[in-house]
Symmetry: C2
Subunit: 547 residues, 2 copies
């Protein structure tokens, strides 16, 4: 029995006061971990996250006790436990070879700043628990607003810190941002009129009766994010009233098809409440024709929201911001700082063209959010929430426009390099070209590529489907094994490439936003996948039989 | 010109890679700050947060630039800037003399653990970016579920890690938790039947038409949290359909009045969708009669939600958990860990009695949240979100049941001490007794107290109103000056004390959850208020004239 087993953490008032007043010793387990995090984050993650994936059921076995432990535990014991069972089995989201998701390595300065933010423990719901954090957050929203809409000095002098206006809302992420935008759009459309006190007071059922519409609808590309369906559900509009509009060969919504869909809805007495443009679809990274969509929104008199949760950061690049042309015409825009702005998880924003827009959801309470106060909580979906805006503020100031220019251009150009690399391989096929820094592709043995080309030429849909289905199996198998081996990670999704008759096909998906991802790493990812493919002999044999 | 003005941060690819790869030097400004945070958080906050409040407009002047700074800034320069303009003007929420809000001092171990959490940067929306964090979060939800419902081993073995079940949902805070519960309740009530595909698909308008109801309603005490109005608005139910039910002299909802209100709604063909019990109102800290409410919910066949965002942590005390008796009968319960569980901002939870409950909002997407996956995002309102559950996990394990027992009992007993202290003063009046650890009171000069007592005895409503209005002014003035002087902080709210004919009156409000708040500090708070009152000569003169 070691000394560790002899000592025992005991709950006494003195001991408990100690956890609030006595810092962790520098030579404690947690002290050592913290020093390593500060000195070498990448090394820490590399050393402490296990390369080989443990089966989920084994991990679950360690997290199955539901009684709150009766006795206190020494911090060091707890930390040793989570180092082996939680940290070791977490995902190395910052690894330069993990190019399958939208997280990246983080700038070093964010670690101590996060600690400062947690230590200050401000609550942004009201001035009384956030003071300077409130104008700081408003400034961040103002900077993002300016980045999108670029209004003049007078505009920002008038509205940036106005108690009765909001240039946007800070929130935990893009989903809440999208919900907030559509919530306000719904309430603006179904506002008070005559005896009707507005949807906010009387609800959707009476609102539609008052306005004489049979239903509401929201139009979006078939590549729209699933959070829009969630928003439609939550807002009482219904998921079936998210009208999915077809995309062209470049995964951009067909605005003419959207116009026709809107006319058809109108003919059925269904009011189009909003159209949503996607600026960086999560599956292929493409941007909808935003200017054309803005024109359509004007034509049919509806709200125009742009979901730029992922792609919005591209506005920080002078060279590439034109790819989001037309975004300045949107009534509201979602941008996540925890995606391509290099901020840790939990930093979403929605920006409003019209600073009075959010008044449609304004609410007050007695002990906070008093009328005329500058409490941010009176115009947000969330209530109590942390000072995450400080980390966005830090990145915008420390990295600066010129810094982001280099980072974002680097990502887009890395994606173009990888696309070219894939196209140079005989046995890989680029499925969607990178418009921003996201692309999709798959592994297709040379012989199979020839058979596919022939089937397309002959319009042999049966053969296309048979080969496609086997390639789906192959893609899934490669992706799964590569992930489990833990050296690199690409994700997979299912899309409908035009060239293969719009059938739903499984493809690899990569996001090249990590500045530490080198060209050599990208070459290795392909080599690994080729090697893994050669191990799938059953699928390869079946494919052979079709060629 | 100092050296600092000569050097210039420049954006180059090399410099940018450095922010991702080279740690802050130990002797840098940020390095020094971090060491002080680690060595002496309380001292850091005391030293760096200015005692005297700067006018908000002055603070705003520092946060008014909206152009993203073109050039990068040295980390040290940035940090110096925010130390004087942001940190110095933030709120010392951890101060033992700041007893006006629901935040508290934090245990030390949470600082390095927060840094670890940020460094790992997991995204809980899906297993692929969270792995072990997913079962860890499920365990936290399981522990909270067990704390409320205490089901047997078989139950948890079956459901804790089941892909198609959820014992609860983790979220950014109590507002999202309450919205989630009511969203699911609405969808469960208006489920698919016959040709109708459910409110989730077809929306609220068609749902009400299908079921033949004119409207939905939610019943809650007049002390219910403003987030419920927000939920009703968002869900398309309408704020007017949150039916506010009167409370008794102890600020607990009158269940008989609620029963009558429900019957009346039913007679008007309005379906009561849910009743909401409050376990710890934000204004007076009282708990509704939960068991009686559960019986009513059964009687009228509706959902029973308990908002225990603030009070729920009391369940960790064997001695006082009986105060929340009946909570185990609730269909869903909201608890915020960032309130009385000593976790930093951003840790809300909602727990479900029935593990199938959340299926009413289940949603899937192609690249994540695939059917049958254990991706948490398929049953939450939020999408991408951080691994905050780890900090709750740490507190539950390190503090343990016995530790929380002492902390929570300490808070409740500190509130009882303060109530007695107030009652022992001739010139203070306790307005609401502490049931948990929240109470309200006000300063009333001795002569005025006598005049008030006489006015109550004579039922002289005119005099009561006149005195009451001046006391409101006095309370507001004391509270504002005390806050501005920065030594201590109590909050204020407006409630309707029965003893003064249910008129709305302004009162001081304190929350005694900080374990570092001593009895001596509480005595000082009263002395400060007494001294501040004596400075309000105009109001005192006007009061005198009424006595």
């Amino acid at each position: 029995m070691t000394e560790k087993h002899l000592r025992k953490a005991t709950a006494s008032e003195d001991n408990l006061i100690r956890i609030f007043t006595v810092p962790e010793a520098a030579d404690s387990t947690l002290g050592r971990i913290e020093r390593q995090l500060s000195a070498d984050l990448a090394g820490f993650l590399q050393d402490n996250i296990a390369a080989l994936e443990q089966p989920l059921s084994d991990i679950e076995n360690h997290f199955c006790r539901v009684e709150v432990p009766p006795q206190p535990q020494f911090v060091s014991d707890y930390v040793e436990d989570i180092m082996s069972h939680l940290v070791a089995q977490s995902v190395h989201t910052a690894a330069p070879s993990f190019i399958g998701h939208m997280t990246s390595a983080l700038p070093y300065f964010l670690l101590p700043l996060s600690k400062l933010m947690v230590g200050l423990n401000q609550n942004l719901v009201k001035i009384e628990t956030s003071k300077a954090f409130t104008p700081m957050e408003r400034q961040v929203l103002g900077m993002m607003h300016h980045l999108i809409y670029g209004r003049d000095t007078n505009f920002y002098q008038g509205f940036l810190h106005s108690a009765s206006h909001a240039l946007g809302a800070f929130c935990s992420g893009g989903t809440v941002a999208n919900i907030t935008a559509l919530w306000i759009a719904r309430n603006q459309l179904l506002k008070a009129s005559g005896n009707f006190r507005g949807v906010t007071r009387e609800g959707l059922h009476k609102a539609l009766k008052h306005y004489g519409w049979d239903d509401l609808a929201i139009l979006v590309s078939e590549r729209g994010h699933y959070s829009l369906g969630k928003a439609a559900d939550l807002l009482g509009i219904g998921r079936d009233n998210i009208i999915s509009v077809a995309v062209d060969a470049h995964n951009k919504v067909d605005v003419e098809a959207m116009r026709m869909a809107a006319a058809e809805l109108q003919a059925r007495n269904i009011r189009v409440m909003a159209i949503v443009g996607v600026a960086g679809t999560t599956e292929t990274g493409n941007v909808d024709p935003l200017a054309e969509m803005a024109a359509l929104a004007k034509e049919i008199d509806c709200h125009f929201h742009v979901d730029a949760a992922w792609g919005g950061a591209t506005l920080l690049s002078e060279k590439y911001r034109h790819l989001l042309g037309g975004i300045e015409l949107a009534d509201s825009v979602t941008i996540d700082a925890h995606k391509q702005m290099y901020v840790p998880m939990g930093a979403g924003m929605v920006l409003f063209k019209d600073p009075s827009f959010a008044s449609a959801i304004e609410h007050h309470a007695e002990y906070i959010l008093r009328q005329g106060s500058k409490d941010l909580g009176s115009q947000t979906l969330e209530g109590s929430r942390p000072g995450m805006a400080m980390l966005v503020h830090a990145c915008l100031n420390i990295i600066g426009r010129e810094g982001y220019e280099i980072l974002i251009n680097g990502s887009l150009e890395r994606a173009r390099f990888f696309a070219a690399l894939i196209q140079a391989q005989a046995d890989f096929e680029l499925i969607s070209e990178p418009e921003l820094c996201l692309l999709t592709y798959r592994y297709v043995p040379v012989k199979v590529r020839q058979a596919l080309a022939k089937a397309v030429a002959n319009n042999d849909t049966e053969k296309l489907a048979a080969i496609g289905s086997l390639l789906d199996d192959l893609t899934r198998a490669i992706q799964k094994t590569q992930r489990e081996q833990g050296k690199s990670f690409v994700s997979r999704t299912r899309i409908t490439p035009k060239v293969y008759g719009n059938d739903k096909r499984t493809v690899f998906r990569v996001v090249l936003a990590n500045p530490l991802t080198t060209e050599a790493i990208l070459a290795t990812v392909l080599e690994e996948q080729r090697a893994l493919a050669s191990g799938e002999s059953d699928i390869l044999r079946a494919l052979d039989a079709l060629c």
